[in-house]
Every structure is written in structure tokens, then in C-alpha cells.
């Protein structure tokens, strides 16, 4: 069996007496768009931070592309980190740099490229996510919420990573911008064969872009295809996919 893009085995995260994850398993195959959902406080962001190597788990292991994260040396960890792109919930653009400089920063840190290449490649990424050239020279404070999300995606794509982590990529966007963002993710996945792992609360996003869904319930993860997960008997999952909100969605979409 080929190595999974992301694999989490027996993850335990605990803060004081509060157990967030207790033997959590997760597996994302190459080329999937995997959506992580869960109620507030079920540890979605903690899971993401653990996978990214920003936080050491109490127990369990995280493998990216078949390589175990814990126990890697500094140089190897750096190479692993160049292999994934991340967008944070609030963008986390560097406020003292322009959008163009934000996108160039990973390239400058990881590669030696001539200045002309840096400019043109960064501009290519910025245009790829649907921002116009004028936005490139603006500072993050001058951008709208949707533009910040797109600029963050451009920065995540700067090194052409095969793996992308998105933390609530469409939260705070209007439905049309959110739909455009989902289309962009699907498009990038098709064209570039990316693997995408996203945390999202947006049912529309889940239906539009995700091939599989993992739900965090009771400190574990239940993962299945969308068709499978909506039939899951767990009450929270049932309420999430079959509740009032989901019905509103099906009315809107006529399904």
C-alpha cells in the first residue's frame, strides 16, 4: 500500500485534566480533499497544530508522506515543512509585508532564486488564486476578508507543495466568495493533483469540494465518504448533517 499523504496513529492530546484526543486515528490518501468537522472545543485546531508539528502530542504519531514527524532532525523537519502549505483561520499574513512579499517569503527562506523569478513566480501565484495584480503591492490591512483568505492561499502555494492544510478557508466569506474559493480548491486539486486537508464548518464547502469527511466526536475521529457519513447514527453527526441547517441547504439546492 502506498504511503498516505497524512496519517495519524493513536494520537493523545491532553491539557491538564482535559483530554482532547484519546487514541485518534486519521488517514488521508494522496489526491483526496479531506474535510475535518466537529463541534466547538472538540480539538480541530489542536489536531491541525499537531499534524503541522507546531505542538508535540502526549502520545501517538503523525506521518506525512510516510515519514514520522517526531524524532526528525532540524534540517529534515525543515524539508518536511517545505512540503506542505498552510492557511490559518485569520490569514496570518505578515502585516508589515505586502502581499507580494508575503508570497515571496517562503521562496526566499527555502530556495535561492534570482529576483526576477521571485517577482514573477509570486505574481503568478497571486493571480492563480484570483487576486489582481494591484492587490500584490497592498498591505494586509488594506485587503478585504476574502482577499486576505486568497492571499493566504497564495502564500501556502508559494513552494508548490503537494499537500495543503486549510483552517476554515471559507469562514467569514459571503456565499458567492465562498463558492468561488471552493471551486478554486477543487480546480487546484484537479490540475495539480494536490492533497487537501481542511477544517470547515461550511456544509456547502463539504459538499462541493471534499471527497471524504472526518468528524471529531468523543475524542476520536469518524471518517467516511459524504454518502456514508450522513447515515452515521452518532447523534452529533446526525444533527450536523440531517438537522435543520442541512435541510435548509437541501431546500436551497433542491436535492
Amino acid at each position: 500500500m502506498a504511503a498516505a499523504a497524512v496519517e495519524v496513529r493513536g494520537l493523545v492530546n491532553r491539557f491538564g485534566r482535559q483530554v482532547v484526543h484519546d487514541g485518534l486515528d486519521m488517514r488521508v490518501e494522496v489526491g483526496e480533499v479531506f474535510g475535518i468537522v466537529g463541534g466547538s472545543g472538540t480539538g480541530k485546531s489542536v489536531l491541525l497544530r499537531t499534524i503541522l508539528g507546531l505542538q508535540a502530542p502526549r502520545a501517538g504519531s503523525v506521518l506525512l508522506g510516510g515519514r514520522e514527524l517526531t524524532g526528525l532532525g532540524r534540517a529534515e523537519l525543515r524539508a518536511v515543512k517545505a512540503g506542505y502549505g498552510v492557511t490559518f483561520q485569520h490569514g496570518a499574513l505578515f502585516t508589515s509585508l505586502t502581499v507580494l512579499q508575503n508570497v515571496q517569503l517562503p521562496m526566499i527562506e527555502h530556495l535561492r532564486l534570482p529576483a526576477r523569478d521571485l517577482d514573477e513566480l509570486a505574481m503568478l501565484k497571486i493571480r492563480m488564486v484570483g487576486l489582481d495584480a494591484g492587490a500584490a503591492h497592498k498591505f494586509p490591512a488594506q485587503l478585504s476578508g476574502g482577499m486576505v483568505k486568497r492571499a493566504a492561499l497564495a502564500r501556502a502555494l508559494a513552494l508548490d507543495p503537494p499537500l495543503l492544510f486549510l483552517d476554515e478557508p471559507t469562514s467569514g466569506l459571503d456565499p458567492i466568495s465562498a463558492a468561488a474559493f471552493d471551486e478554486l480548491v477543487v480546480y487546484l486539486r484537479q490540475e495539480l493533483a494536490l492533497t487537501v486537508v481542511m477544517i470547515t464548518h461550511d456544509l456547502d464547502t463539504l459538499y462541493r469540494s471534499c471527497t471524504r469527511v472526518g468528524v471529531l466526536v468523543d475524542r476520536h475521529m469518524v471518517s467516511d465518504t459524504l454518502e456514508g457519513i450522513v447515515r452515521h447514527p452518532e447523534p452529533w453527526i446526525h444533527a450536523y448533517f440531517m438537522g435543520e441547517r442541512a435541510r435548509e441547504r437541501s431546500v436551497r439546492h433542491g436535492t
Binding site: S96, L124, A136, F139, A141, Q142, D160, E191, L192
Partner: protein, 375 residues
């Protein structure tokens, strides 16, 4: 090896191989540049066995369009790489980006531009002054509005700031006050000994510490500690839209954020000054005892003789004034933070520089005033 080339008449067959990644961009460009293109009029590219990421596709596109400009017709054998289509689609029909407005070197030497720059700076300076005056005005208004009710003076918040700016500053203020009185006594003793006027060292220390140095050094330490802290706290809140949130809730941010800090410092700085004066006198006494062999009782008697009725109060009256200057500078700079973390740093720096400047300026004005009043 990123590609293998084979020449057939005027056609060059180019087979791309392996992983074309951003990390190997420079090497791949080197190989493409080294291709024997002289006399070639057709290019057949086979990308079937290579994998190109977006950056590599951009490089290939660059190469192909340069080739086309040199009259070489290129075609793909089999499918073009998918990433190339993405790049084509992204760049299609879009003009190259405009460069940001960076003045050319020649423009900088242009006399008209110099005059314009001077004017800009003058206008900016005027805006800064009027903004500062506006802030002082808004603060005064907020103080007047909340004067009527004790709850709106926020005693808990004031107490916190008295603790943060005053109590926690005691060790460093004590150390500095002690050292400065030691320096003063030591320097004074060296000079006054020449005239046999050793006893006047006490006058020097007493008057110097009480009138000037105690309050001035304390104010400078507090400007560095608390002026910067005020600017950074409020600046981070501005960046996080917390200041806007306060306004939206219907609370005046100046009443909540600025007034308690000013009042807290107005209480803390005089107390710190009193403490600093005491430590300074004690330090002077210790040095006189060790250096000049002066009994401590004689020192304390001499201190009481040299103090005029006004000496202590001349120093002390400055403390609340300095406190207001430091707190207003710090909070104002914090409120001015806009947009970026770099601005936060700049405003925090400005808060310290500005509050020390205002403290010095006020001290000079006090000196002139007291001289005119003959005290």
C-alpha cells in the same frame, strides 16, 4: 538531467524527464539554455514522462515563448503538462503588473520634487501636532464627563496600573537612585575637598537629588518601562480591533484605556519619586560616611539645615506633571497604531522617545519658572 534533446534535420525533439520542481528551477533553466537551438525551426516537446509543478510549468512557458519569438514553432507530442494549462489560463490576456510607485533616483534630485517633499513633511508634521492636540482634548473631555461618578473612574483599573507602573518599578528605581547619589557625592567630594569644603557635599547631594535628579531619573525610568508598555498594550488592542469593539459597544475607549493609565501613573510617579528621594539621601549619607568619615548624625543634621522649605516640594510638584506627559504620550502612540506589526514597533519607540523629550522640556521650563519665582 531534466531533458534529453535529439536533433532531426531542422527539428529538435525534446523529451522532458523526471520531477520538475521549484527547487530545481535554476538547474532546469540552465539545461534549457544550453540546448543547441541554432538552426532549429521546429521544436517537438514530449512531456509524457515528466511531472511539472506550477513553477516549472512557468519556466517551460517562458522557454517556449522565447523560442517562438526566435521563430521556432513548438508543439507537444502527446498531452501538454496540466500545470502548463493552469499557468496559461492564469496569465492569459492579463497585462504585466504595474510597478509600485518608487521614485527614481533622478526624481529625488529634482528641485520640484524636493520642494514637494518638504511640503509633504510639513503637512504631515502639522497633522501629527493637530492629532496630538486633538487627543489631549478628547482625553480632557472624557475626564470631565466621567468626573461625576466614581464608578466611571474605574478604581480597580487604576489600582492595577498603580501596581504595574509603580510597585513593580521599585527595585530599579531604588538601584538607580542609590547609584546616582553615590556618583554625585563622589564627584562632589573630589572637587570640594580641594577647598576644604567637604561638608558641602551634603548640600550638593540633598539639593541635587531632591530638586532635580530624584524626580527626573524616576520619570525617565518610568517613561522607558511604562510609556512603552502603554503604547504596546493599546497598540496590540488597536491591531486586534479591540479599540473599535469598545467604541461599538458604546464605551469611550479613552475613558477605559487612557484615563485609568494617566490617573494610575499620576498616583504612582510621585510615590516613586518620594521613594527615590529617600534612597538617594540614604546613599549620599552612606558615601559621606565611608569616603569622608562623616558621622551619620552629622550628615542628617546637615541635610535638614540645607533643605529650604521649598526644596522637597520643588522636586515633588514636577512628578504628577511628568506622569501626565508620559501617560498621554504612551497612550496616544498606542492609539495611533494602524495595520501592521511594524507600526506597533515604531509607535512604541516613538512613545518612549517622545515622553522622555517632553519630560526634559517640562523640566527645563520648570527650572526657568522656579528661577523667576526665586525659589
Amino acid at each position: 538531467m531534466y531533458c534529453a534533446a535529439q536533433r532531426q534535420g531542422d527539428e529538435l525533439r525534446l523529451a522532458l524527464q523526471g520531477e520538475w520542481r521549484l527547487a530545481g528551477l535554476v538547474a532546469a533553466r540552465g539545461e534549457l539554455a544550453a540546448l543547441p537551438l541554432a538552426g532549429v525551426s521546429r521544436l517537438a516537446v514530449d512531456a509524457g514522462s515528466a511531472h511539472l509543478d506550477v513553477s516549472a510549468a512557468w519556466l517551460l512557458r517562458d522557454f517556449l515563448s522565447t523560442a517562438a519569438a526566435n521563430g521556432i514553432a513548438a508543439r507537444f507530442e502527446g498531452d501538454a503538462p496540466p500545470a502548463l494549462a493552469l499557468v496559461e489560463k492564469t496569465l492569459a490576456g492579463v497585462m504585466p503588473p504595474p510597478d509600485p510607485d518608487i521614485p527614481e533616483a533622478s526624481q529625488l534630485l529634482d528641485p520640484a520634487a524636493a520642494v514637494e517633499g518638504l511640503g509633504r513633511h510639513a503637512v504631515q508634521a502639522w497633522h501629527l501636532v493637530s492629532d496630538g492636540l486633538g487627543f489631549v482634548g478628547r482625553t480632557a473631555t472624557a475626564a470631565a464627563q466621567s468626573a461625576g461618578s466614581l464608578r466611571r473612574w474605574r478604581p480597580a483599573s487604576i489600582a492595577r496600573h498603580v501596581f504595574d507602573t509603580g510597585v513593580t518599578a521599585i527595585p530599579i528605581v531604588a538601584l538607580i537612585a542609590f547609584l546616582i547619589s553615590v556618583i554625585l557625592a563622589y564627584m562632589g567630594a573630589q572637587q570640594l575637598r580641594k577647598f576644604g569644603a567637604d561638608i558641602f557635599v551634603v548640600d550638593l547631594v540633598t539639593v541635587g537629588v531632591l530638586r532635580e535628579l530624584g524626580v527626573l531619573l524616576t520619570a525617565i525610568i518610568v517613561a522607558g518601562r511604562s510609556g512603552s508598555a502603554f503604547a504596546a498594550e493599546i497598540g496590540a488592542m488597536s491591531l486586534n480591533e479591540e479599540v473599535d469593539a469598545l467604541s461599538a459597544i458604546g464605551v469611550n475607549p479613552i475613558e477605559v484605556l487612557v484615563l485609568p493609565r494617566i490617573l494610575g501613573l499620576v498616583i504612582a510617579l510621585p510615590l516613586l519619586t518620594l521613594f527615590s528621594d529617600l534612597i538617594g539621601l540614604a546613599g549620599g549619607g552612606l558615601l559621606c560616611h565611608l569616603l569622608l568619615g562623616m558621622p551619620l548624625l552629622q550628615y542628617s543634621n546637615r541635610v535638614l539645615e540645607s533643605i529650604a522649605s521649598t526644596t522637597f516640594w520643588v522636586g515633588m510638584i514636577k512628578a504628577p506633571v511628568f506622569a501626565v506627559l508620559i501617560a498621554v504620550s504612551g497612550t496616544w502612540c498606542g492609539m495611533r497604531v494602524r495595520g501592521s506589526s511594524r507600526d506597533l514597533g515604531a509607535q512604541t519607540t516613538l512613545a518612549v522617545v517622545q515622553s522622555i523629550f517632553f519630560v526634559m522640556l517640562a523640566d527645563a521650563l520648570f527650572a526657568v519658572l522656579f528661577m523667576e519665582l526665586d525659589i
